[in-house]
């Protein structure tokens, strides 16, 4: 059996500047614990791995993956170009636990894109970081967003603002972490807990993703992330598994898929795709750009169309959360009707 004594920071980050890293690690553990512990206490199936419940060394691992492109836009328009334009227009649209911002060759919105930056970094992490080590938070903004970032820009009135002026744009590369309403760890953990309840309607169990999301009141059924996470967790709960989320708990950029991506001659995907924060296995921030001198992203095609929107690449980016389960048949899961019944 392997126990998890502490929740570890996403992507093995070591961001502390003016305090010891251990202090930040402890603060993060406490933050995650404050989210997971109550969620686990509400569920028979979900457990807190730091609270005495061990996980075997070979649990079943259930990666749940989805594209970063917001699937709800498929219902809005039949035009792929219009969908991409809408997705790029506001971070609020980017609701699949991954957000992005584009850099252009010039100041105009018509200038070609040179770089797209994707992030799955959690707003909760930055709140903890700023509370524990404000200088470290500012240093990250200066490194990744704006070298002239000022403390009051990210924390007006001293309290860290996840929707601050340096983290709400879709252009200029001004992106540090997730900020769209549903994109946070609290939402993901709450969903994992709530989805362990087996839902019944008229005596029949509700299992399909869209139906489950409606029945359990888990939000928007046409998103690609939450219905799938809910259905996966619910399926494991149905089998009587003990379930937890894999540490380090978080949303990760798994990869950018190569299918449908046409690069200029001599350029490889490895030349273009750079993990900027986190590790290869637990990537939190990544960017796509051509090597210097190889042109702009208009020289790249996705499914035959030149890249004029970050969303075209978001369609190839995969986001991941991982559940672990074991002891099949050992839990008698809670059951309930639909909400509201």
């Amino acid at each position: 059996m392997a126990s998890v004594e502490r929740f570890t920071v996403p992507g093995a980050l070591t961001d502390a500047v003016s305090v010891e890293q251990k202090k930040l690690d402890d603060a993060w553990h406490q933050k995650v614990s404050d989210l997971v512990s109550p969620a686990a206490s509400r569920s028979r199936s979900l457990y807190d791995p730091t609270d005495g419940e061990d996980t075997p060394s070979d649990p079943l691992r259930h990666p749940v993956r989805w594209p970063a492109f917001p699937a709800t836009l498929n219902a809005v328009t039949n035009s792929p170009e219009r969908r991409a334009e809408l997705a790029d227009s506001s971070r609020d649209r980017q609701d699949e636990y991954c957000e992005w911002s584009v850099d252009r060759a010039g100041p105009s919105a018509e200038d070609p894109i040179t770089r797209v930056i994707f992030t799955t970094e959690l707003p909760e992490y930055f709140e903890v970081l700023h509370e524990t080590d404000p200088q470290a938070a500012l240093a990250l903004y200066r490194e990744y967003v704006d070298e002239n970032a000022r403390p009051e820009q990210i924390a007006p009135g001293d309290a860290y603002d996840r929707n601050n002026v340096l983290n709400r744009q879709t252009t200029g590369g001004k992106i540090m972490h997730l900020r769209s309403g549903p994109n946070n760890l609290f939402a993901a953990v709450t969903l994992a807990s709530d989805a362990t309840v087996l839902r019944f309607r008229d005596g029949a169990q509700v299992t399909s993703p869209q139906d489950l999301v409606s029945c359990g009141d888990f939000g928007e059924p046409l998103r690609s992330s939450d219905p799938q996470i809910a259905a996966a967790i619910n399926g494991l709960a149905t089998l009587g598994d003990k379930i937890t989320l894999e540490d380090p708990i978080g949303l990760y950029i798994e990869e950018i898929r190569p299918e449908g991506l046409e690069l200029p001659a001599g350029v490889t995907l490895e030349d273009c795709w750079k993990v900027e924060r986190g590790t290869a296995e637990h990537a939190l921030r990544a960017s796509f750009s051509l090597p210097e001198g190889a042109g702009t992203l208009e020289d790249v095609r996705v499914r035959g169309a030149p890249v004029r929107f970050g969303a075209q690449l978001a369609d190839l980016v995969r986001v991941r959360i991982v559940a672990l389960s074991h002891s099949r048949g050992s839990v008698n899961p809670e059951t309930a009707g639909c909400v509201p019944e």
């Binding site: 079943l60 989805w66 039949n78 399909s208 409606s214 259905a231 399926g235 089998l239 898929r257 190839l316």
Partner: protein, 527 residues
Amino acid sequence: MGAEAVKDLTCGALRAAEGDQDSLVRFVVDSGEPPKPLSSEEISQLGDPLAKGPFASGLFPRTAQGVLDMIDQTIPNVAPADSQASFIVGEGSQLPANNPGAGMRTFLVTRTREANAGPEIIVAAQTPEGEGLIEVMAWDDSADGFNYYQTTPGQPWILAGNSADALRDGSAGAGPFESHPSGNAIMKELRLPWIHWKSFRAPVPPAVSPQIAAHPWFNDAIGAETFEAQIQDSVRRWNRIRLDRALTEGLVRDAPRLLQSFFATPTVNLISADIEWSKVMRGEVDSFAAPIAFFLNAHCLQGICGLKLPEPDKLQVQSVAYRDALAEHEVTLREGGEPLIPAPSDTHFAFLVPEPAFEDTELLALAAPKAGDPDEGTLLSRRLIACALMVDFPNPVLSERRAALAGHVTDDTPADGFSQRLGDSIAGSPQAGQDGTPEAEFAELWNAGEGWKDLAQERINSYGEAIKNLLARPDGGREVFRLAQSRREQVNDMPIHSEVDFLFATPPTPLGQMLRMSPDAQVLPIG
């Protein structure tokens, strides 16, 4: 007079191939050649990873996992293990677990070598480790195209042909080419929400068999959205070769077969609304958007010709009307005529209908100018494509009117000026002078010259409004159901339907009436 035996031209004919399990037999159904064991020398001439690796080394795997393991042992760089991706499909995979039709599930495992080229190998089997039917499509670098292989317990491995055999008289439409008519890899449910596939829209339930639950093919299976992109890359790869082979010495060779994709419906893909039927059934939504490809050839008219399509707000089928139509006709999924679910019901995702196949629309896209490029220098101009596809445009599949235009295509015609000549030939034909003919409909747009785009857009806009008005009527849902059902019944006779009984939700007896949509959105009998 004695009864003549019906010749089996399906994959079932491959059962006739006999021999040692540890051997490879070439048997291309209806090619005129009997099954023939291949010698080591003949195997060495094959250029795909299965032949170059395991077969050339005298290894004949008996499990699907064994195919990939032996490739890794013998020829690791051709279809590298780190490119492996697994997918899950099954017509019964979205039925409740206790349903008699549930559980049909196939693993598809791909490996790729080059970005954008599609898989080098596709292995399909119901189980990774157990014995059973194993089907393999492996790309042949020497001959180009996929080599189609299969084996079953007790049988040798069978080489059932190469993609090129799909385009030869005799073997065309026979054996594996019954369901792969152009020799391409296919995914019939190619687009969102990928009914029948594991995807972000419909994860398959966790397997209950511990062996399967722990197997990486199941546990690490990725979504249909990625298989869609792999298949699209693969289709482009083979279609480019088809096109290059067709365009030699300045001529368009075998043009009638090549342009089948243009005018006729050699095969179809399947598309549904992006909503689970159960939500429609319970009235959780007042309406749902029918797929745009049901109403016109969206991929070509928008993607190639640059025309704007009616938006989802114009395509809203009223849930009540649709439910009533299904109830009136006692529609549900059936196996052997017996309901799998109490009627009325629909497929997991509502409103499953045929749409133009990607392998056909993409062939046009490859022969046409790329987005932003001029018409010059391509085989097919936007104008020709639009003028042809706007003939009977409210019926994007199975249109006999549009198919009639194929009679104007001649073989071995010069590639230079092909579009202009073909367009002029149709528009200048005697039939074009007769009211109501497909040629006259074509000519009306063709003769508008550069004004074709405005005229076509005007017709599409007007059609969009007419659809909206139709669907707002109390009987609108019933009308589109009848049209959809008519198209499903026509597809029932196509090979794409041959493998499963309950692809579509159906009434107990067919409607038996062929229907079409008119440009003013009336559902009318054909003929």
